[in-house]
Every structure is written in C-alpha cells, then in structure tokens.
C-alpha cells in the first residue's frame, strides 16, 4: 500500500521498537503507539555578507529534521531505561554513556522503527534518532486510569548514506 507521508503511515495501529544504529531491527519494543505528532524543521546555515555588516547573501540548506512526540501505552519500563538513561557513569554500556534525558547528542542516537499491527500497512524506520525527553501521563477516564509515556525523538530526514535516513512506504 503506497503512503504519501510518514505521518500517514504512523497513524495506523502499531508499536514502536528501538535498536542499535546499524542493526537490521526491529529490536526491543518500547510500547503501543497511542498518538504521534511530527514537527519538521529545516536546517539552514546563513551566508553573511561582511562588507554590509549583518546582511545575509543567502543560506545553505543543511537538511530536514523531524522532531517526533509519541504517546505510548503498554510500555516496557526497562526498555525506556535503556533509551532514556538518567544515571551518569553507570555500568550499562549500550547505547552509550548514561545521560540525563534531554541532554542526548548524536552519539546517543538509536534506530527507531514503527511496526504496524497489520502486515499490509507500511512500517517507518528512523535509522538514526536522538532520544530527547520522556515523561509520564495519567489520563482519568472515569471508570479507569490510563497510564501513558510521552517521549520525543529527533531524526534526520536524509543522511549522508541511506542508512542514516528516514524511510517508509514502498
């Protein structure tokens, strides 16, 4: 089934998995995707014109970044502990040195894969995604309480190699 965008592909029922960058995946499941939002940001480097002070002659297009926010349920707390480590200098070596959520850099990136429940739907692979923030949310539904984990990732739309890109669809 052809999909016009990754956001369309992400809107079907499915789960989020993570693995080490470069692995074939899908890896370890983080949880079932309840909702998702994507914000696209263009990276541009300005070209200043020195003889005119702060005027800009143009800009260089650096690529597109996707900042994604997922609401997951049925989450695996241990899996989140591996991705969003908040222990500095811990004994766990993978996927990198422990850092406080929100302070991760490119060297902490992981391979993120959205696997839909239906085989006919296309998955989405974020070959190199940097984990950012994670927090919990309790939703009171009256007869029960739903526990969700909200997490954000930063992914490059296109990388130097196809292995570093976001891919989806046929």
């Amino acid at each position: 089934m052809a999909v016009s965008s990754a956001l369309t592909a992400l809107k079907v029922p499915g789960s989020l998995f993570f693995d080490v960058v470069g692995n074939a995946g899908p890896g370890t499941e983080l949880g079932l995707v309840r909702d998702v939002q994507i914000r696209v940001a263009e990276g541009r480097s300005p070209i200043p014109v020195e003889e005119h002070g702060i005027e800009l002659a143009g800009s260089v297009y650096l690529g597109e970044q996707w900042r994604m926010a997922f609401a997951l349920r049925g989450d695996d707390a241990d899996a989140f502990g591996l991705v969003f480590k908040n222990v500095v200098g811990g004994a766990v070596q993978w996927p990198g040195v422990g850092k406080v959520p929100g302070r991760h850099t490119a060297q902490d990136s992981i391979r993120l894969e959205f696997v839909p429940k239906e085989a006919s739907h296309r998955g989405v692979v974020f070959a190199s995604a940097i984990p950012e923030l994670v927090e919990e949310l309790e939703v009171d539904l009256g007869h029960r309480v739903e526990h969700l984990v909200l997490c954000t990732f930063l992914a490059l739309r296109e990388g130097v190699t196809p292995a570093g890109s976001v891919s989806w669809g046929p």
Binding site: D35, A71, L141, L154
Partner: protein
C-alpha cells in the same frame, strides 16, 4: 425496611450491632446511594418517607459529595484548556488531553532551542 435498603441488601439489625458491622452497613448504604444518584436516580417524597433516618443522612451526604465533584470539574474546565481536556477525557477517551500534552512537549523543546 425501606425499598432502598432491600435493593442493596442492607437489612435492619438483629440484635446489638458491633462497630465493624455498623461501618460495613454505612459503607454499603453510601455506595448504593452514590450508584443510584450517579445513574440518574431521583428520590420522590414517597421514597423519602420510606427511608429511615440513617439512610436519609447517607443520601444527603452523598448528594453533597456529587455536587461538590461537579463544581470542581466545572472549575477545572474553566481554568485552562488543559483542565477542560482533562474533564472531557471521560467522553473522548483522553484524545484531546494526549494531543495537548504532546504539543506542549514539542513547544518546550522548541523554546529550549534544541
């Protein structure tokens, strides 16, 4: 024995009740009254005259509790968009509340300049 008491299985005392039995009876009466009122039930004057003094007190207390709960929900919804979404979560299964939290998370990251 009132119709209400009979419907929830609370019967008049036989002998001298102990504290534990009395507490259990009050809890059962309160739960029954709350279920009745939350389900949309209303007491008529005929119903009221058929209740004993303890059952009337329970209905009055539960009625106050439900009214207070409704006032808190109204205040919460009026305070902010997030508050309104939290109140509406009972109807929309929390969709709007989750959407607002995801948006808030992304806004926070953008303000950080990351």
């Amino acid at each position: 024995m009132s119709l209400f008491g009979e419907s929830i299985g609370v019967y008049p005392y036989s002998g001298e009740p102990d504290a534990e039995t009395e507490n259990a009876r009050l809890v059962t009466l309160a739960l029954g009254a709350e279920t009745f009122l939350r389900g949309g039930g209303r007491l008529s004057m005929v119903d009221w005259t058929g209740l004993d003094s303890q059952e009337r007190a329970v209905f009055a207390a539960v009625g106050d509790k439900l009214a207070a709960r409704g006032a808190v929900r109204l205040a919460t919804a009026a305070r902010s968009v997030m508050g309104a979404a939290a109140v509406v979560a009972v109807i929309d299964d929390g969709d709007e509340l989750v959407r607002l939290h995801l948006t808030s998370l992304l806004d926070r990251l953008e303000r950080r300049g990351k």
